[in-house]
Symmetry: C2
Subunit: 224 residues, 2 copies
C-alpha cells in the first residue's frame, strides 16, 4: 500500500478550491501556501503537504498558479465533470436548494425533483417538473443519478433514503434531523443546523479556554 490519504486532506482540498476560485475572481494569478493557508485557516506547511499526496503543483520561489491548481483539485475530487442530483422534497428547503446558484456553478445539476404531495406533483420549480416520489427509483436509475438530497419531513427521511439507494444513489445529503441508516458503500452527510449549533455552544460558555484559530474555522462531523 503506497499512501494513505487522510480524510482531512480531502476536506481541506474543497476548502482550498473555494478560496482559489475567490482568488481567480480577483484576478490573482499566483498564490503561496502562506496566502492560501491564511485565507483557508490552515497552516501553510499543511497546505503544502496536502498537495504532495497528489503530486507537486508548485514552483519553488513562486508559489502555485491559481488556474492550474484549481484544475488539479477539481480533477482530484472528480469535480471536473458534471454531476446529477435527485432532490427529494419540494417545500421551502427543497425550493431553496433547487434554485441555489452555487450548485450549477460547481457542476452539480438538480436533474429531478420528487415529492409525495399530489398538489405539487406535476407542477414545476424553475424548469423542472416535480415527480411522484413513488417513481423515484426508476427515474434515478434511468438517469444514472448518484447524488440524492433529502429535504422532506424527518419521519419520511429513512424511507426516502432507501428509495434513493434502490435507485443506485451512493451519496446522500440529509437535511433532516432524522438519523438515517445506510448500507456500507453509501456516503451519508447530515446537514442539521441543530447538530452544528450544539457543539458550537460548548465554546460559548466558561469552558471556553480560548478558541484556537482551528476550532473557529473548522466545521466537522455531524453524526449519523
Amino acid at each position: 500500500m503506497m499512501k494513505e490519504i487522510p480524510q482531512g486532506v480531502i476536506e481541506r482540498l474543497s476548502t482550498y478550491l473555494n478560496c482559489l476560485i475567490k482568488f481567480q475572481q480577483e484576478n490573482v494569478a499566483t498564490v503561496s501556501s502562506d496566502k492560501l493557508g491564511m485565507s483557508s485557516g490552515v497552516n501553510p506547511a499543511e497546505v503544502r503537504r496536502d498537495f504532495t499526496y497528489f503530486g507537486t503543483f508548485g514552483k519553488k520561489g513562486v508559489g502555485y498558479e491559481v488556474d492550474t491548481l484549481i484544475q488539479h483539485i477539481q480533477r482530484i475530487l472528480g469535480a471536473d465533470e458534471p454531476h446529477k442530483i435527485a432532490l427529494v422534497g419540494a417545500g421551502n428547503l427543497g425550493s431553496a436548494i433547487a434554485q441555489y446558484q452555487g450548485l450549477p456553478r460547481h457542476g452539480f445539476h438538480v436533474s429531478a425533483i420528487f415529492d409525495c404531495d399530489v398538489n405539487k406533483i406535476g407542477t414545476h420549480i424553475g424548469h423542472l417538473e416535480i415527480f411522484n416520489v413513488a417513481n423515484l427509483p426508476q427515474i434515478v436509475k434511468g438517469a444514472g443519478i448518484a447524488i440524492g438530497i433529502i429535504a422532506v419531513p424527518p419521519h419520511a427521511a429513512q424511507s426516502v433514503a432507501e428509495l434513493l439507494i434502490d435507485g443506485g444513489a451512493s451519496i446522500i445529503l440529509n437535511y433532516t434531523p432524522a438519523l438515517i441508516r445506510v448500507p456500507k458503500g453509501v456516503q451519508l452527510h447530515n446537514t442539521d443546523p441543530v447538530q452544528q449549533l450544539l457543539h458550537t455552544l460548548y465554546y460559548l460558555s466558561s469552558n471556553n479556554k480560548g478558541l484556537t484559530s482551528r476550532s473557529k474555522v473548522r466545521v466537522r462531523r455531524s453524526g449519523n
Copy 2:
C-alpha cells in the same frame, strides 16, 4: 493546565446526544458504550473515553442510563438552557429554517427574522415579524442574541455577518457559499451543500480504496 479536550470529543458529544434522544423515544432505559458506539459509528472505547473528560457517568456491568446521560451531555454542551437565534434572510431557505421543528426541540428559538426587501419587512413568518436588517445590531444587542444564521444571497453575506457581530453575536451559521471573514472569538460555520458534495465526490471515483466506516459516518470540516 489539567486536561486538553480534543475538538472531536465535543463534536461526537452532540452525535451521542442525537442517538440518545432516539433511544429515549424508543423507551430504551440503558445503553452500553457498545450500543451507543454502534449507533453513532464510533469505537466503544472512544465513546467511554470521551465521557471521562467530563466525569464518570456509567455503571460497570450495566452501562449508561439514557436519561441522565442526556442531561449530562446537554449540561456539558450548554444545551440545557434555551438559546436565541437571529435569522437573516426571509426567502425560501430562511422560511425553511424559521419553521424547522428541530431547532425548538433542542432549545433553539428563532427570536428575530431580518430581511432587506421592503415587500417582506413588516410581514410575518409564523408569529414572527420580519424586521429591517438595518435595525439588526440594536435588536440583536437588545435581545441578547448570540447566534446568527445567514440565509441571504452570497454577495450580502459579509455585511450581514458584520451586522451580526456588531450586535454581539458570536456564533454564525453561514448558509451561503460566500467566504466570510470574522474576527477571532467569533465562531463561523459554513453549511454549503457544494462544499459537502465536493469532497464526497472523491470517494465516488476510482480513487475510492474502500470507504472506511469512519468516512461514511463522519461529516467534517467545511472551510471558511
